[in-house]
Symmetry: D2
Subunit: 220 residues, 4 copies
Amino acid sequence: MAKIRVIVNGAKGKMGIETVKAIMAEDDMELVASTDVGDDLSEKIINNKAEVVVDFTVPQAALGNAKKIISAEASAVIGTTGLSNENLKELGSLCAKHKVNCLVAPNFAVGAVLMMKFAAEAVKYLPHAEIIEFHHEKKLDKPSGTAIKTAHLMEKDVPIHSVRLPGLVAHQEVIFGGVGQTLTIRHDSINRESFMPGVILAIRKIKTLKGLVYGLEKIL
Amino acid sequence: MAKIRVIVNGAKGKMGIETVKAIMAEDDMELVASTDVGDDLSEKIINNKAEVVVDFTVPQAALGNAKKIISAEASAVIGTTGLSNENLKELGSLCAKHKVNCLVAPNFAVGAVLMMKFAAEAVKYLPHAEIIEFHHEKKLDKPSGTAIKTAHLMEKDVPIHSVRLPGLVAHQEVIFGGVGQTLTIRHDSINRESFMPGVILAIRKIKTLKGLVYGLEKIL
Amino acid sequence: MAKIRVIVNGAKGKMGIETVKAIMAEDDMELVASTDVGDDLSEKIINNKAEVVVDFTVPQAALGNAKKIISAEASAVIGTTGLSNENLKELGSLCAKHKVNCLVAPNFAVGAVLMMKFAAEAVKYLPHAEIIEFHHEKKLDKPSGTAIKTAHLMEKDVPIHSVRLPGLVAHQEVIFGGVGQTLTIRHDSINRESFMPGVILAIRKIKTLKGLVYGLEKIL
Amino acid sequence: MAKIRVIVNGAKGKMGIETVKAIMAEDDMELVASTDVGDDLSEKIINNKAEVVVDFTVPQAALGNAKKIISAEASAVIGTTGLSNENLKELGSLCAKHKVNCLVAPNFAVGAVLMMKFAAEAVKYLPHAEIIEFHHEKKLDKPSGTAIKTAHLMEKDVPIHSVRLPGLVAHQEVIFGGVGQTLTIRHDSINRESFMPGVILAIRKIKTLKGLVYGLEKIL
């Protein structure tokens, strides 16, 4: 079977470096180029006959990069945050025009995405819930983006507690309480590698999607 | 709207007592009779125009009770364990003949059932998993029935660890490990009341099922 | 060996009922009377040659009861809250005069007391800490008394998070963070019986104390 | 105040590299040399007027290194495992002769050492306990050395459960069960840096010890 031809854009960034390593460890995909700021992305896609481009760059470049990828008729896996609903709509139309797909995912950790998906489902049966998120003391913002997204998916006003301590990395617990019982869903992430299985899955599945898809949970 | 007419069979047992209390606390259902060993169940169903019968009795009586309920043209919610696959098949045919439904559920704790459902789903993306179940020191059998059922639903050979200590009631943790991350799903049960929301849900939904259904997870 | 002669005062209250049961299950102590509001406590102590009186009554009665017990020359185990520092001083003098002992303990759960003791010790080596306390949704006050006492013993301004959900009873976690590691001390209490081992220990050890002692941790 | 003059022996190993970094980040100590296999350790100690030598080498070199350090009249902090009780005795005599101290510690993670210390204390009041240790799937031996040491310090036959999954690093939970309650002490370690606060503490305190001391817990 032919290997999936992949480009990593933002290949020198922290996520890019991990993505390059992860792709090279897979048998069914081939890294045909790695690009960064200053490279002509469109040209690289066309010259290398890339089928999928993974983008881990910066918020302000996300939309421009996605447009270039789709216009060059490659499917896009966008891990960069910062796209508005309007941007997503625009990308959806562009996908239709060029007959490629685009997956935009703010979180590629399979475990975190499953946690959010299960939380959204559990809340229907056990409506009383609270979230505790635990991060290293250098994370100054609270609550975390994942906690906000989880509460949003649960479609409720869920209390969120933020613990900040050295020795922690990134952890979250969603606790549901019902009569005589509790259900707890917890995700612990200890490093950036935890995002790679999600990225690899996205590269593998993107051809089977239909146009623009938002959230890794849609392909699980 | 007319209330659902319910009979609790095994009303003097520990689960029966809780079920009677739980039904009486709901607005959309009415306890039309409560029965036990020695009562003529068929007669009670017919005389009281019962629509649903909840059975919490003993394994050896489960099949006989279920047949009486269905033959009297009431839908059956069977919480009693001990039914074989063959028994379930027989009940399925009987349901078709009498145009009623039957839900057989070995565990009515919504949280436990969600835990099992999520575990079965998570294992597809994070295939490395172990189960730890924690029970009071008087529970002599190990592993617990819920742990065995969870592993069975995960369709894998999952290592199970059994902790037995005073001060514990009934708890289970399913831990999934992936690169750089873990996902943990935990259920804590502190008393029999934890089963009631599941029983109430079953009473409410049984009319909408089709014939015989096995497992509370099917109606969540 | 002669059994310790014990009276339970407040024997009809929730804690009193458990204490009566617990004492009767021990071989080295004897329940010589159980008293309540309306009984002449001093007379009961003297007539029954009681050596130890356990008091679980109401805050406003705590000081009066303690004085009666000590003046009747029995040692006092006071589980009732509401004594001020001044009250404790007064009781200390009274103990000296009558040559008996008095243990005042706001929390008799051995596990909770150990948690507080360990937290106070751990904070010396791992100074970054946060407390999460989990209680049933009917507990309206937050943070819990145990959380406040724990933070006080740690002699720090420790952030406290309060989770309130059905299905919870009384639980607390103290998390310490250091470089690359965390230490967590957690206590889970599921019922009133959890206080009994502490009460029994107090009855057994009170003869060996010196005058007034505050806190179960002093006799562990 | 004069800085403590320190040598790291085994400075190119994983632990050695971290130790060198940790010492350089402290204001009250100075790294006067770093040595490895092939260096003349005795000469380096004497020439650099080292007061403390930290040894992280290999089991078969531990005794020889410790003897050289003590004979050169520096205090020794030995993190290398492999010393027998007889070896420790011999080092104790050598310390007395040369009027220096030696701390031998198989685990320098302050949190892990506190966990063991608290477990040894808690078991006196809550004698029913079990240990669960969680490690990455590449750790083939089970149970872990820390779990064995914890059980040994608890002076009991404690059941140990070993969980091995990707995404885990090194974690341990000691659960104590009593009537109606449980107490859990858990340590999570995510990297080698977690050992450094313990090493730094040892360097700082070793001058105040008396001869040979075994276990970081003795100086906490």
